[in-house]
Amino acid sequence: MTTPTLHEQLENMRPALLRFALLQLRNAERAEDAVQDALLAILEKPDQFAGASSLRTYVIGILKFKIIDCLRVAGRTVQIETEPDQSEDDVIDHLFAAGGHTIDPPRAWGNPDAVLEQRDFFRVMEVCLEKLPAQNARVFMMREWLDLETEEICKELQLSSSNLWVILYRARLRLRECLDINWFAHSSGNKNGN
């Protein structure tokens, strides 16, 4: 078996990159452009990636700038079209009883290494990401996938820090709940990554 070329490796990543860019840009054409630009930039200067870090980290690092550019070009007037959903407060409040105790105490999810070894876990997680409200998803992906600093996200999306913290908190609560129901509820038995 021959080692895949850089081009092949990038093509292999393209579908996932596109889906993740779409979660942030919410526009198929813009997501396509951002990913295309990032991949071309890498192919034009393959020397820049001389085994520095992993290809994955390198690609995401380049895509980060393309996505930010794209958000800027799209203009701050193009806000995400969804209304902040009315149930926003419930996401936090429904977890706690009046005294501030958890109503349904979080259970242990087990050994992180064992969880993250399983390919199916990431499939479920991706579905959960897609189910997040648009603004939650955008902000969460910028923070946790692109690894942007909070100050930078606030600047790009014109959010206050406290606003950003609560959006991220809600996104994490939603993901947690979705994963708990759709993965961990079924994985207490023997799931061997099949």
């Binding site: 490796q9 292999n12 990543m13 579908p15 996932a16 990159l17 993740f20 994955r56 690609v59 936090i92 977890l95 706690f96 005294g99 501030g100 105790h101 958890t102 105490p105 979080p106 259970r107 242990a108 999810w109 992180p112 969880v115 993250l116 390919r119 876990f121 990431f122 997680m125 923070r143 946790e144 996938w145 690894d147 909070t150 820090s161 950003l164 913290w165 991220l168 908190y169 994490r172 609560l173 993901l175 947690r176 994963l179 708990d180």
Partner: protein
């Protein structure tokens, strides 16, 4: 601010700690509560798994 933090406060601090530096008082309240509360300790573990998962998300096709 109550003397003893509630799970509600601690859940929020667990999340915010991932995005900002907590104050000395917040850190202390968090640490003391986590020593005695399984629910919040589990929540903290779940948040760590979510963060790690995002960093390790596979990009290649299977």
């Amino acid at each position: 601010m109550a003397i003893k933090p509630t799970c509600k406060e601690v859940h929020r601090l667990v999340s915010e700690r991932m995005d900002r530096d907590l104050s000395v008082v917040e850190k202390l309240r968090l640490r003391v509560h986590l020593m005695i509360c399984d629910a919040c300790t589990n929540f903290n573990g779940q948040m760590n798994i979510i963060r790690r998962a995002m960093h390790e998300f596979p990009l290649d096709k299977d």
